[in-house]
């Protein structure tokens, strides 16, 4: 028997449950109670595309150090699902703990001898105390929460308080839940010896907030001044539109009940983006929320937005593709289909938020960018950021900030007899002026079309006119480089030939892996890409290193392809590190992958950066 694991405020607990059994509420209480004790956590749902009956997992990483990515591995498994017993038991790290319902005896072959087994007769306790079937099912979850609180030293007062808050106005329910909690807790205190995993009150949470990225992005859209939302339900993006609705209702309802926003649940994704483009053309800030399959359906309209120069914002909460893929699993696999969406020569603005805080920030600024560049802006979330609650820095807002509506010619400007050409590059930045419909009785009207036209929006099939316009669109894209969020660079402690590029939800695991790799003697300069088009810093960063790892959550190294294509770099320098099994990337995975590859790359002296 291996020495049981011993850790304070630094371990991983995973719950294996059956979908629809009411476990989410108890598991959420578990996570929140630890947060309330001042200990940072990172919790992730791994759930099926199903409402009831299939296996579902909830993984809580407790990290006193504040690591928000997945670590990898499991120190304690709360195995509540017989369907997945074998794989759940197998997943526990050596020396770890298995918590299970011991009401029914299990054959010895179902256990491992290198882990500590903790049996609690949950069903027996539950059946003795409750009679109704649903009651038994729901309270069983609260009973295991009680037993875990005893084992891990969770402050019972915190859970009592959380239950009181949760059932505010339903005191009877709060009381019965608290009773069930103590039933489990007391049983464990009486019958179980202490274990090596412990929680101790801390002050590491600070003023951070705990929220999912989809809700944060929906809130960002409210702050960004979006007034029109058109969407079609699709996992994992649905809660983004719902988040917008919730916050818009709260902040944008007038005293007479009328609304300063409009939400249309469209008949499909084509109609969703069509509505967004119609609204954008007419001067409202509009967005849709979708996932990969929706992006595929929207391609034609996105090309229209690019060519006719109509602002639009698309939140893409990425999931595992292709086709229907794994609808409830995470990936970063829409990078190319967003960046190069639609037929013909097109490129689009893409933002990569790393956590809910940036989902809020980019969720608001995407509308400024879309208006400024009169084009589609993709905000690429993924299921991991979008649907999981993350502990992140609080949202911030500067009240002096105003919406940037971009280059819009008003009736007054037209009356000043300024020359108006819808596609005229007056400032040399590739960005033309537009007018909203209905602006002026006899000036500034133009005909918007997806076909080629001249600088004054007159239909033209002339090759020279077409090329002139396409080149201006490139200039506009070049201008955007400075305007979109710049990459964030973090230098290694010492000079190194290695660099790493990463983005989006890989960020948390990457931060942790960087520290661990440094302990392993592998130093890396790191660059987090936050937007496309790529800022020139990215080319410079690549030029400064002999080997640049690009960490992504997809099979085909999509960002690497985009970098190769746009930065015109030697592909041999760019080493892909790819995680694409649908679970969020872990620090252990990155550490191991880069550690292995860094050793296999022959280290050559750092070349002097090209002048």
């Amino acid at each position: 028997m291996r020495q049981p694991l011993s850790a304070i405020n630094d371990f991983v607990v995973k719950f294996a449950n059956v979908n629809g059994s009411g476990s989410a509420s108890a598991n959420g209480l578990f996570a929140r109670s630890i947060l309330r004790m001042g200990i940072p956590i990172a919790a992730r749902n791994i759930f099926p595309s199903n409402i009831q009956g299939l296996p579902t997992w909830y993984e809580v990483r407790i990290s006193g150090e504040g690591h928000m990515g997945r670590r990898g591995g499991v120190d304690m498994m709360v195995a509540m699902n017989p369907q997945t017993w074998d794989r759940d038991v197998a997943e526990i790290d050596a020396g770890g703990y298995l918590f299970y319902d011991s009401t029914k005896p299990m054959p010895a072959s179902k256990f491992r001898d290198d882990i500590t087994v903790i049996g609690v007769p949950l069903t027996e306790l539950c059946n003795a105390a409750y009679t109704g079937a649903r009651e038994r099912q729901l309270f069983k979850n609260i009973i295991y929460l009680g037993a875990l609180s005893a084992l891990l030293s969770i402050d019972p007062a915190v859970i009592e308080q959380l239950l009181t808050e949760q059932y505010k106005g339903k005191e009877k329910l709060a009381k019965s839940n608290q009773d069930a909690f103590h039933l489990g807790r007391n049983w464990a205190l009486t019958n179980l010896p202490p274990i090596g995993l412990k929680l101790e009150k801390s002050d590491k949470v600070g003023n951070r907030i705990y929220i999912e990225g989809n809700a944060a992005a929906g809130l960002g859209a409210v702050y960004g001044g979006a007034t029109v939302c058109a969407w079609y339900p699709i996992t994992p993006s649905t809660s983004l539109a719902e988040g917008f609705e919730k916050y818009a209702k709260k902040f944008r309802t007038n005293a007479d009940g009328t609304k300063n926003y409009a939400i249309v649940q469209a008949e499909d994704e084509l109609a969703s983006i069509g509505i967004v483009i119609g609204a954008g053309w007419n001067g409202a800030r509009a967005f849709t929320a979708t996932s990969g399959p929706g992006i595929s359906l929207m391609q034609e309209f996105v090309g229209l937005s690019y060519f006719a120069e109509v602002p639009a914002v698309i939140f893409d909460v990425q999931r595992a593709g292709p086709s229907t893929g794994m609808p409830t699993r995470t990936q970063q696999s829409d990078v190319l289909s967003a960046a190069y969406a639609s037929h013909g020569d097109t490129k689009h603005l893409v933002l990569f938020p790393e956590d809910p805080r940036e989902c809020f920030e980019f969720g608001a600024s995407a509308f400024d960018i879309a208006d400024r560049f009169q084009s589609t802006v993709f905000v690429l979330l993924d299921l991991d950021i979008g649907m999981n609650d993350w502990l992140c820095e609080p949202f911030e807002w500067d009240d002096s900030k105003r919406m940037d509506r971009g280059k819009v010619m008003t009736a007054e400007m037209l009356d000043e007899a300024r020359e108006f050409g819808r596609y005229l590059d007056v400032d040399g930045d590739g960005v033309p002026f537009r007018t909203y419909p209905g602006t002026h009785p006899n000036k500034g009207a133009f005909f918007t079309r997806g076909t080629s036209r001249d600088r004054f929006a007159k239909y033209s099939e002339s090759g020279a006119v077409y090329v002139d316009n396409m080149e201006r669109l490139l200039r506009k894209f070049e201008t955007a480089k400075q305007y979109v969020p710049h990459p964030v660079e973090k230098k290694a402690a010492r000079t190194t030939p290695y660099g790493v590029i990463y983005y989006g939800s890989s960020s948390a695991a990457m931060q942790e892996a960087l520290a661990a790799l440094q302990e392993d003697g592998i130093h890396l300069d790191a660059m987090r890409v936050r937007a496309f088009p790529f800022h020139d810093d990215i080319s410079r960063f690549i030029a400064e290193h002999d080997t640049v790892f690009i960490v992504e959550q997809n099979r085909d190294a999509q960002l690497r392809t985009l970098v190769m294509n746009e930065c015109n770099t030697d592909p041999a320098k760019l080493v892909p590190v790819l995680h694409f099994d649908g679970t969020p990337i872990t620090a252990r995975f990155i550490r191991e992958a880069i550690g292995r590859k860094a050793q296999s790359v022959e280290v050559v002296p750092l070349r002097k950066a090209a002048p």
Binding site: G274, G438, T448
Partner: protein, 350 residues
Amino acid sequence: MSYLKPALKHPGLPKNALGFTRRDYEGSISTLCAGCGHDSISAAIIQAVWELGIEPHRVAKVSGIGCSSKTPDYFLSSSHGFNSVHGRMPSVLTGANLANRDLIYLGVSGDGDSASIGIGQFAHLMRRGVNMSYIVENNGVYGLTKGQFSATSDKGSKAKKGAVNKDEAIDLVAMALQLGATYVGRSFSGDKAQLVPLIKGALAHQGVALIDCISPCVAFNNHEGSTKSYDYVREHNESVNKLDVILGRAPITTQYAPGEVTEVTQHDGSVLRLRKLDEGYDPTDRVAAMNYLAQHKALGEIVTGLLFVDPDASDLHAGLGTVATPLNQLGDDILVPGAAALEKLNAALR
């Protein structure tokens, strides 16, 4: 290609209430074939908007793709226009309407654009009751791609090269009635006297108005054996009523026999005065309209006129409860909740 028309105007041209001549409502020169029904519809639109005295820039024209969808370039050059994506005019127009409820929305589409590729968006726009006039320039054929049958081609109709259509036709009027459209008419591009008032009534209507306008394609669907040719439509046209649209309350000056005239007052105050051509046809009875259409279709007749109107129509904005101010005119003060509200929210997320 677009050509500029000479800006010269005859000083004696008649003016509307706003002092505009019809020329002020024209657009670029049409690039459609000589004799195309669509050009007659464009002329009817110009006439209708001029007669109604609408400021041309208060109209937004949206279309899809195809011959019909090119036409918004050929009228109302002072209006913004949007020639969007094939079959997707309804969604683009819905979004535009959401952004600014104060403009007058005119959607122009064709039978391919609305009954084939765009049938889904057509249906859902009707369901939602977007406040707009939806004109289908229906020629039963794909013109720009040279003569394929469209989804409104009648079963048994003959193509120019002799092929016979084996598929059932989609009747957009019947669909619109079923889907809750609140102003439904059918007309013929060759009957301007009927079409102009129908368009005027639609523009004044405060809900979704559909006009299915049969518009012969002189290049590919105007031959013997076609059911969308000028000759065929003239022979089979069964008009149920004759419409006059009256703005404000003008007294009836012509003498009508009792029961000959029905008046419907719309929400905006416009009065639709209908002279009945078919005794007993009640244009405010949706179910009766659907039955009438089905019965007369069986007789091989093309029923035209104002087939249904709901004077108490409501629209998408009413359903959503949006504010009266156009959404595109709301500023930071109304839209952005600010830092203090955000701090409160942060506190609730701890």
